[in-house]
């Protein structure tokens, strides 16, 4: 479904992504782990087209999309959430979701009718709002909801484009334990054929939802395999996990 071949990216002298090749099957849920600064977010940016790789290619559903701009890739079913909230701050939760749904439904540039009033758009908004537990706040503006809720909306907006492939950048960071659990349920309720790539620092969640795990370190894929294997991996423990509880 989503594949990268030998992706490379440097910022000046900093080599951030090194020869990354990944392959996600349809419906696969893969979690990316890695220490801070390993290049996870950068990989996402390369996948969706916000950055252009120095070399290598990105393939979506079998097609080379490396040359396509962000918007074209998105229309082909690639959607992402951001590590740092990237929302429509002055608008309400409903409008945030509606804008995303409208693009998906193809009403975003129509001149003759209101995209947000379309039944199919409203339907998506309702569903997604339920999924991310924001129904009670549907009319609140982004600036009026707490940070945690905004994190959920961040995922919601990505979901509202009804993607084929969903990339989530630390969806639960800044979200309390209760909502974290809710997020777990959310993932379980998503269609099984949705391909997902998740960056996550919450190990419990990661091992719980992942079909496969990729570990990045200094921009390089240092582990690629099943969660069980990852759990036992000494390397992972060394570079990433540790545990303050052991202290």
């Amino acid at each position: 479904m989503l594949e990268t071949r030998n992706l490379d990216k440097s910022f000046g002298a900093v080599h951030v992504t090194r020869d990354v090749s990944l392959k996600l099957e349809r419906g696969e849920r893969r979690v990316i782990l890695g220490p801070n600064g390993a290049g996870k977010t950068t990989l996402f940016n390369l996948l969706v087209g916000e950055l252009t790789p120095d070399s290598g290619s990105v393939h979506l559903a079998g097609e080379d999309v490396t040359a396509l701009p962000v918007s074209r890739r998105a229309r082909r079913g690639l959607s992402r959430s951001y590590q740092k909230n990237t929302l429509f701050d002055g608008l309400t939760v409903e409008e945030n979701l509606g804008l995303a749904a409208a693009v998906h439904a193809g009403h975003a540039t129509q001149l003759w009718s209101d995209s947000l009033a379309k039944p199919e758009v409203r339907e998506i908004v309702r569903e997604v709002a339920e999924q991310v537990n924001l129904v009670p706040h549907i009319h609140a503006r982004v600036s009026e909801i707490s940070y945690g809720m905004r994190r959920q909306l961040e995922v919601g907006v990505a979901l509202a484009t009804r993607p084929l492939v969903l990339l989530m950048d630390e969806p639960t960071s800044g979200v309390g334990p209760e909502m974290s659990k809710g997020f777990h349920d959310l993932l379980n309720n998503l269609p099984r054929d949705l391909t997902m790539l998740i960056i996550e620092h919450d190990m419990d969640l990661a091992f719980d939802v992942a079909d496969t795990i990729t570990v990045l370190n200094y921009g390089e894929v240092v582990f690629d395999g099943l969660p069980e294997a990852a759990r036992g991996s000494k390397l992972l423990k060394e570079i990433y996990l540790g545990s303050w509880e052991d202290a």
Partner: protein, 334 residues
């Protein structure tokens, strides 16, 4: 995102009746002033459309209006084609020019966008100023008004022309509302609030910007064609950047992003200007101070101020309403 609140409907109704009253009772100079307000109102609606709802603060809308005026004049006077066709041509041409400007400037933001549009405006100004076919600095005269004789209307009569402009403004306002409520308008609002996210959702951002800028340009072109007919004489001064600057002042004075506000602003500005210039030649000073005062009051222009007061009362009445008024942003994850 654009909404028509009760207050906005009330204001619109009030403005319309005032305009109608004025149109039927005013003496000669009153009609002149009314027409001036109506044409300026069209221009500022066009500007509010892009600036207030798309974050595209344009400093070339005066020039676009000038393009409309010159296009109308060239087609109707120089080429001798019927005014109706000339008007349609002016609107189409200005729209096309605006679309191109919008497309080219779509990558710029903030002050850079302002300056990029200014550059295009100034290019048009210099060109018109220096091209002999446009009469240079001396301008062009003898501009005919639209012939609505078949409807029994003589637009050469000031009253009829004022009413005609009022009708045109009504149509323009309606069109602006339709645009803002359309999918395109909604997407525009998304682009204004977060362009990056809109792109990530799959929207071709530059197209949306260019399309709305083009539509706004068509309105400016219409205003230009009407301005040419109103004054029956045009000169390059019409395209000067100060005209765009003044339009921007009017939009802010009235209330950016409210669509109704700019109408109020246009009336307030023109009336203020006329009243003051009758009293003192230093009226710019007063206008400047008023402008500073309005902006400093932190309200979103005159209409924004009214809306805030009205909104507060509404809030009190609907104490249990979930909607709260806009909070201040402090250290947000912006």
């Amino acid at each position: 995102m654009f909404r028509h609140s009760t207050l906005r409907y009330i204001t619109l109704a009030l403005l319309t009746s005032l305009a109608l009253f004025q149109a039927f009772t005013a003496a000669y100079f009153g009609l002149e002033v009314l027409t001036e307000i109506l044409i300026l109102a069209m221009l500022v609606v066009a500007l509010d459309l892009v600036a207030g709802f798309g974050g595209m603060v344009s400093l070339c809308h005066g020039a676009l209006m000038g393009v409309g005026a010159y296009a109308y004049t060239t087609v109707s006077v120089t080429l001798g084609i019927s005014p109706l066709v000339a008007m349609a041509g002016a609107v189409a041409l200005t729209g096309a020019a605006a679309w191109i400007i919008g497309a080219i400037c779509s990558r710029s933001h903030g002050i850079y966008f302002i300056m990029a549009t200014l550059a295009f405006g100034q290019m048009a100004y210099s060109w018109v100023f220096e091209a002999p076919i446009f009469g240079g600095d001396d301008g062009l005269g003898g501009i005919p008004r639209l012939d609505l004789g078949f409807l029994g209307i003589d637009l050469n009569d000031s009253r009829s022309f004022a009413l005609f402009c009022l009708a045109a403004l009504g149509a323009v306002y309606g069109a602006a509302v339709l645009i803002l409520r359309s999918g395109l308008g909604r997407s525009l609002s998304g682009v204004m609030h977060n362009e990056q996210r809109m792109r990530a959702l799959g929207l071709t951002v530059w197209r949306v910007k260019a399309d709305v800028f083009g539509l706004s340009g068509m309105i400016a072109g219409l205003a230009g064609a009407l301005a040419a007919q109103h004054i029956m004489y045009i000169s390059p001064g019409l395209l000067a950047w100060t005209v765009s600057g003044e339009a921007l002042v009017v939009v802010i004075l009235g209330g950016l992003g409210t669509l109704v506000g700019p109408l109020v602003g246009a009336a307030a500005f023109v009336l203020l200007k006329h009243e003051l210039s009758a009293i003192t030649t230093y009226w710019h000073l007063v206008v400047g101070l008023v402008l500073i005062g309005v902006v400093m009051s932190r309200a979103n222009g005159i209409f924004g101020w009214i809306e805030a007061r009205w909104g507060a009362r509404l809030d009190r009445r609907l104490a249990d309403a979930t909607r709260k008024s806009a909070p201040e942003e402090v250290l947000n994850d912006a």
